[in-house]
Amino acid sequence: MNNVFTILLIVQKKMNLRDIDGLVTNTYMFAVITAIVMLGLAILVASMIQYQSGASPKDRMKRKMWFWILGILTPIIFYVYNLTMVMPNIKAGPAMNKFFTHSALSPVVAFAIFVILGVVVSKIFKRKKVGNWFNKVN
């Protein structure tokens, strides 16, 4: 919550080159938080999908699908957030140039964190529904 608060404070005024280092750090931390929140959502969705019976159950495929949908949405949401909430508050010029690279890289980091944590959670709780995320489909 502190990171969100700091970023909100920073974006209240146009930032210059001096403020960018702090903003970059906070942006990466926020990317990690976004990934964790989205992963929490993926866990919730996976748990809500009921085990299905019969000759062609779709439950496992649905859990996988929702994991990757939320995984793809994570960098998109984060990039849109940077684009709409953070970048308009950065002065054009060197400050913007410096932040631009990180604004492109941080969604990738959010995605990577989402996937890595997803793999870890899936392997730890392989007997639970989240265990389906990286199971082979028979």
Partner: protein
């Protein structure tokens, strides 16, 4: 109760076979935990539909249990398919030339003297029609003839086995059974399934203890016998079904001059009961006799079959199962689990009554093997196995021709490869077993297996809630395997949306339900572990 007891079951005739079918399903339910049975099927007709159906069922049961060490697997505890069954067959072959009728078997035909002792004696007891009808479809309710022939078939075979000449495979099975009976000595407990109103069973029940003992005596050259403290039990099953009355035209030829007429079954039952009540040999040999009767109209086995003539036996005799046979199976359970009355010097007749109200028979879990703990045990084992059946047939489309066990197995396969050694041959066989236990649906037509045949004979409640007995495909699809009982405390944990299947699969994936955590189950090989795992998961799913 002696821990050393050796259990033997003899199923005789068509009704005896259907009782054995029930017994096998009770073993599959886990009602005979940790026990081993030597089962002898005894019939006059090797083509009989009921006999073949029962023997195939037991063979399927044994293939499900088979391990690399044992053809029939091992006895397990606290699990399904927990009893070990060793099957032996004996058929008094009346199909061969010169063995088709009494007159041929006894050589009376070749005797020239019309006033020989043998001829006069046989004419005194047996009419000409009785001496000459075709025996290949059984004794056709002629018990005076049947008892004589069955006794001689058994003792004749004993003579042949002793000679050791030209012994056929089927006859070797009887030899094995005799040896097991002898080796069991005083620890033998022998239970006989059969009716007392028909032909083969009714003929054999009175003579079978003496016939087996005399067979051992002959086979062992006077040194072998059934232990003096061995215990015998039997069902005294009176009439509960009827069939088409034979037409005079069918009785016009010599082979069919005698055909069992079900309108005499009540009379037959009365006469048989009088006999059992007064015969000193029967009273001395049997310790417990379970009187099972059917107070309601007999079920008509010819109904809706459009039979042109009375079916006397053979492949076509494949009658539906009936609740009285489950009562007989329950009687066997009592015989093998209770020492009550076993020390009596004279037969004890046992019976229990059930509720019949407003033209319907209502049976609860307490009406089979007793109330209290026994009732709880029956309810749990019966309900859990029916639930397992629904998981395979209903939830995973086993009834529609899919391999339901394999689909259930795949759910466990998501988390463990413990059962990866189970091949499709095994899962297909287990699914097939459940179809014969429960039901199958082919082109939208519901075909009842044992369970639904039993239910069809009960107009009222049968242990489970009435909604659990639906045979409508759409309703079956919605049936929750965890909510089969009326009593809520026996329901499985369930979710507001989706019912109990989702929590059950979660339980199935828990480490707690692995058989490795319950050594008492004696589940050592992969398929035993799989069955025990399902058993544990169903138990763990029940709300308590």
């Amino acid at each position: 109760m002696s821990k050393e007891k050796k259990c033997f079951i003899i199923g005789i005739g068509g009704t005896g076979m259907r009782c054995l079918e029930t017994f096998t399903h009770m073993c599959a339910m886990g009602l005979y935990d940790g026990m081993e049975f030597n089962v002898l099927t005894l019939d006059t007709d090797f083509t009989n539909g009921n006999k073949n159906r029962t023997e195939n069922l037991i063979k399927d049961y044994n293939n499900i249990k088979k391990t690399s060490d044992s053809e029939n697997g091992a006895a397990n505890n606290d699990s399904f398919f927990s009893a070990k069954i060793n099957l032996f067959e004996f058929v008094t072959d009346y199909n061969a030339n010169g063995r088709k009728r009494f007159s041929e078997l006894t050589n009376l035909k070749s005797e020239n003297d019309d006033f020989s002792d043998s001829k006069l004696l046989s004419e005194l007891f047996l009419s000409e029609d009785v001496q000459n009808f075709d025996l290949s479809h059984g004794y056709r309710a002629q018990t005076h003839l049947g008892s004589y022939l069955m006794y001689h078939a058994i003792t004749d075979l004993a003579k042949k086995l002793k000679s050791g000449v030209d012994i056929k495979d089927g006859e070797k099975q009887f030899e094995q059974f005799l040896n097991l009976l002898y080796n069991a000595k005083d620890d033998a407990r022998i239970f006989v399934f059969g009716s007392i109103f028909g032909g083969t069973g009714a003929s054999s029940i009175p003579v079978i203890p003496k016939a087996l003992n005399d067979a051992l005596d002959i086979y062992g050259d006077g040194k072998m016998f059934i232990g003096k403290d061995a215990k015998f039990g039997a069902t005294l099953l009176t009439e509960y079904f009827k069939f088409k009355k034979p037409a005079d035209s069918q009785k016009s030829n010599r082979d069919n001059a005698i055909i069992a007429d079900s309108s005499f079954f009540t009379l037959n039952s009365q006469a048989a009961l009088q006999f059992y009540q007064s015969d000193p040999t029967v009273k001395k040999t049997y310790q417990k006799m379970y009187h099972v009767g059917w107070p309601i109209d007999p079920v008509d086995y010819s109904k809706g079959k459009n039979e042109s003539k009375t079916i006397t036996g053979g492949e076509a005799q494949k009658n539906q199962c009936h609740i009285t046979e489950l009562m007989c199976g329950s009687a066997a359970w009592d015989f093998f689990h209770s020492d009550r009355f076993l020390s009596e010097t004279e037969s004890v007749y046992l019976y229990k009554s059930v509720r019949y109200e407003d033209n319907s028979l209502n049976l609860t879990k307490d009406d089979f093997i007793g109330d209290g703990d026994n009732g709880e045990l029956f309810g749990k084992k019966f309900g859990n196995f029916v639930a397992f059946m629904h998981l395979v047939l209903t939830k995973n489309d086993g009834a529609l021709g899919h391999d339901g066990v394999n689909l259930l197995l795949k759910k466990i396969g998501e988390v463990t490869d413990t059962y990866s050694a189970l091949d499709q041959q095994y899962t297909t066989l287990l699914t097939k077993y459940f179809r014969s236990f429960g039901y199958s649906i082919d082109k939208g037509v519901f075909t009842p297996g044992w369970l639904y045949q039993i239910k069809n004979s009960v107009t009222g409640k049968l242990v489970l809630d009435s909604s659990a007995w639906t045979t409508v495909t759409k309703e079956l699809k919605k049936l929750d395997a965890g909510q089969l009982f009326t009593e809520k405390e026996l329901h499985w944990k369930s979710k507001f949306i989706g019912g109990s299947y989702d929590p059950f699969i979660s339980t199935l994936k828990d480490d707690d339900t692995l058989p490795e955590n319950n050594k008492n189950q004696n589940a050592n090989v992969t398929h035993e572990k799989f069955i025990a795992h399902i058993y544990n998961s169903i138990n763990a799913s029940i709300n308590k």
